[in-house]
């Protein structure tokens, strides 16, 4: 069974676009990256999964249950960290966690205590006094306390300092080892690169590409950097499959997803001083996709 299955999901807010025809499958036990810039439709997709909003068309299932019809059953098995944390300002952290735990069967006190210790959450403080980073940590504890088999995280690291970010990665890896499926939305590529097995790239409400993180990074794309002998040559150089071209003095670099032989044979006609073929970062690939789309 798949943890999450989304089919042709479309959401319009009145006339304005939320997401269009989004489909993807999250296998059980995986860490699935969901990446795109702000406004791409990441949060809309997540809100549809949690049935906070209703789809215009298409369907979504979690653990084989329909998100809309069996939403309350699904939410037993889901922990959710929102992008923007809004909890009850009048409550103290400890009371809030107790309240949250009341909704679940599994709600061990030791679990809460150890999570709070791991992420450095102070139970005695009032929620209204917490910084956004501390609120985020509280949201993470709240999402994990009932040991859900599925975690849906909407930009969980935003607002966290690097130390806590790393602790969070550790906590998430531990959870994943225990079999927890993690759906991880972010606009920071390095953390997707670090954490995820698979990634779906969203842009303007549509899925641009779904791939394994490894594939996306290694097989298809290379960063090519060439030092030309003269500027004239450099300006004449052209090849199919290049994008994101940068010029600097007599050096040019670009991302290449064409045939390597085509590249070397084309280069034969030019005088070059040096050539680098490098593994592009996901950031570069990402950037490349976006430039192509525009």
């Amino acid at each position: 069974m798949n943890a999450i299955e989304v089919r042709n999901l479309t959401k319009y807010y009145g006339k304005s676009r939320g997401i269009i025809d989004v489909s993807f499958v999250v296998p059980e036990g995986s860490i699935y990256g969901f990446i795109g810039p702000n406004g791409a439709g990441k949060s809309t997709t997540i809100r549809l999964l949690l049935s906070l909003i209703h789809a215009t068309s298409g369907s979504a299932e979690i653990l084989g249950m329909d998100c809309l019809k069996e939403g309350h059953k699904i939410r037993h098995k889901v922990g959710y960290v929102p992008a923007e944390v809004n909890f009850y300002d009048d409550m103290k952290v400890g009371d809030f966690l107790k309240y949250s735990a009341k909704f679940y069967e599994k709600n061990g006190k030791e679990r809460v205590n150890s999570l709070c210790a791991d992420l450095d959450v102070d139970m005695s403080r009032r929620i209204s006094d917490l910084s956004s980073g501390n609120k985020k940590k509280l949201a993470i504890v709240q999402a994990l306390l009932h040991q859900p088999p599925i975690l849906i995280l909407d930009e969980p690291t935003s607002g966290l300092d690097p130390l806590i970010q790393n602790k969070l990665y550790d906590v998430l890896r531990d959870e994943n080892k225990r079999g927890t499926t993690i759906f991880f939305s972010s606009h920071v590529l390095s953390e997707i690169q670090k954490m995820c097995d698979q990634v779906a790239i969203v842009k303007d409400g549509r899925i641009l590409k779904i791939d394994s993180v490894e594939n996306l990074r290694s097989s298809l794309y290379k960063t090519i950097r060439i030092n030309f002998d003269n500027i004239k040559d450099m300006m004449n150089f052209e090849i199919l499959g290049s994008a994101g071209i940068n010029y600097k003095d007599k050096q040019m670099d670009f991302i290449y997803n064409g045939n390597m032989n085509a590249l070397t044979s084309t280069l034969n006609d030019y005088k070059i001083e040096n050539l680098w073929v490098e593994e592009p970062s996901l950031e570069d690939i990402f950037l490349h996709f976006y430039q192509k789309g525009e």
């Binding site: 939410r75 929102p82 909704f103």
Partner: protein
């Protein structure tokens, strides 16, 4: 149950403040009653000098201030219906909109509960609040009248005059609950709540002032639970109870349907 208890705890301070304020006010009013009784004749003469319509608008044509039930019906009744209805509107309008305006709806609705359960738990909590409020206020007035006017009135009518406002509060609550699904901004709740109560009160006054506007009475909760009607008929009209029942069913059913289909924007 967790939501219900949390809601009660959250509304506790408002309940205490409203109850104490209203009870103090009725104690304060009651202390005037003996003086008013002493000056009954002068008061009657004074009333005759006012325009008939104005006297009727405040029910002083059918109720006598010097009579205990008339005093309750024209004095205490007006403020407990007006202020109590505002309190009830605030309670019921905030049932759903408060969580949405404070954006905590996202937390609550991602718990493993259905939206219907959320709505019902919160509505029951509001109902509990308004019931406790009316119970305490009513008990206090039973005691007050026992002290100030013992033997001069029919307790059954006083009980009806205590139940009347409670039912009116529920009618306003039903309106408030429906508003709660649609009006999300917390800032809007006070003007809307106070506006609806004062507006319908104004309509009820207008409907007594002029014969042409008489039928407007069917549009205002104040006329369905009119003190003079209760004292004269010695009962609450069946029509009023039917209207209340229909309003409650309609409000609860409507809000359940609308809320379960609503997109929660945060």
């Amino acid at each position: 149950m967790a939501i219900y208890l949390r809601e009660l705890a959250r509304n506790r301070i408002a309940l205490i403040v409203w109850t104490i304020t209203m009870i103090s006010f009725s104690v304060f009013l009651m202390t005037f009653f003996p003086t008013i009784q002493d000056q009954a004749i002068e008061l009657q003469r004074l009333m005759e000098q006012y325009p008939k319509e104005l006297v009727a608008a405040f029910n002083l044509d059918r109720l006598k201030m010097a009579d205990p039930m008339g005093f309750y019906g024209t004095q205490v009744y007006i403020f407990i219906t007006l202020f109590g209805s505002i309190y009830s509107m605030l309670l019921f309008t905030s049932v759903l909109s408060r969580e949405e305006s404070e954006k905590t709806a996202e937390f609550l609705l991602t718990r493993p509960v259905t939206r219907s359960n959320v709505l019902i738990a919160k509505t029951l909590a509001a109902l509990t609040n308004i019931t406790i409020f009316n119970l305490l206020f009513g008990m206090c007035n039973l005691i007050l009248f026992d002290i100030y006017a013992q033997g001069e009135y029919d307790v059954n009518i006083l009980i009806l005059l205590i139940i009347g406002p409670y039912l009116m509060h529920l009618l306003f609550g039903a309106v408030g609950l429906l508003i709660s699904v649609f009006v999300v901004k917390a800032r809007a709740l006070y003007p809307v709540s106070i506006g609806v109560v004062l507006g319908t009160y104004f309509v009820s006054v207008v409907s007594t002032l002029s014969d042409t506007a008489k039928d407007l009475r069917y549009l205002t909760p104040f006329k369905y639970f009119d003190a003079a009607d209760i004292v004269t008929d010695e009962r609450i009209a069946t029509l009023s109870l039917i209207v209340l029942g229909v309003a409650l069913v309609f409000a609860l059913g409507g809000s359940l349907i609308f809320y379960s289909r609503k997109d929660i924007a945060v």
